[in-house]
Symmetry: C2
Subunit: 149 residues, 2 copies
Amino acid sequence: MQTETTEVLLRHALEESGQRFTEQRAAVYRTLVATDQHPTADEVFLAVRHDLPGISLATVYKSLETLVGCGLAVKLTYGDGSARYDGRTDPHHHARCLACGRVTDIEGSLPGPQLDMLRERADGFLVTGYRLELSGYCPSCAPRASVSA
Amino acid sequence: MQTETTEVLLRHALEESGQRFTEQRAAVYRTLVATDQHPTADEVFLAVRHDLPGISLATVYKSLETLVGCGLAVKLTYGDGSARYDGRTDPHHHARCLACGRVTDIEGSLPGPQLDMLRERADGFLVTGYRLELSGYCPSCAPRASVSA
DNA sequence: GTATCTGCAAATTTTTTGCCAGTAG
DNA sequence: CTACTGGCAAAAAATTTGCAGATAC
C-alpha cells in the first residue's frame, strides 16, 4: 500500500517549504490522493471528517492552500464559483461535464512541439505551466443532452 | 467602425435565444468587445457606468450571464475568487501572469488531430469545447521573477 | 397589453481572518 | 521552549434573488 509513501512525501514537501507536519494536513492530503474526483473544499471537509471528526472547515481551507503551496495539489476553478482541488501533480488534463459538473481525468500531456508553438505565440511570456480542459457531456449525461438539443 | 455590426450581432443572438435587446445588455457587450483585458464583473460595471451611469451591478451580472448564454462571451475563472469575462468567441487561448494576474490572448487554436487525440482519450465523453491556458510570467514581470527565483 | 427586464437591497454562498489554546520540533 | 497550527465564530468578498415599477415588442 501507498499510505506510508504518501506520508513521507508530505512530510518532505512540508519540510522543504518550512512548514510543519500535522495530523490535519496529512488527513486532507490522504483524502485528496485517494480520490479521482476533484472535490470542492467543502467535499474534502465532509470526507476528512470520517478520518478526523474534530477538524474544522477553516482548517481544511488552510491545509488545502498549504498543499497547493508545497506543490502537492492543484487548485482548479470553474464558473460555478467554487474551487476544486486535485491531488495529482503529474501531467494530465481534465474533461468537465456541462450537465453534471463532474470532472474526469484525461491521461497524457501535450507534445513538446505543440507547446513550443504556443510558447512562441505567447511572445516574451515566460511559460511555467499550462492547463488544458475539455468541456462537453459525460457518457451518462450525453444521451439526455442530445435529446434535449 | 464596428459599432453597428456589434449591435446587430447582439440583437440577433438575443432574438435567437428568445431574449430582449436592452440598452444595458448592449452597453455591457460593447464594453466587453472593446477591451482585450479580461475584466471581472466589477470591472465591467465600472467601465459600463461611463456609458450608462444608472446601471446597477446586479444588472451587469445578469447581462453577463445572458451574453454567456447567447454564446457572445466566455466566462473564465481563476483561483483569486473572481470570474473574468472575455468577449472574444473565436478560437484563441490565454496566458496568465502568476505575478500580476494579467491575462493575455494567444492567437490560434489547437490543430484538429491534436484535439482528436484528446477526444479519444476522453473515452465516451462528448466534447463540445476546450480551454487552454498557459501560466507563467509576462514580459514585465519575468525579469523580477527570475531574480527572486 | 403583457411578458421580460432593471434597479435596489437583502440574502446566500464561498472563502478568509483574528485570536487563544494546543502541539511539533 | 517557541513559533507555527487548529478551532471557532465573525468578517469579507462575490454573486444571486425577490419584488415593484419600467420597457421591448
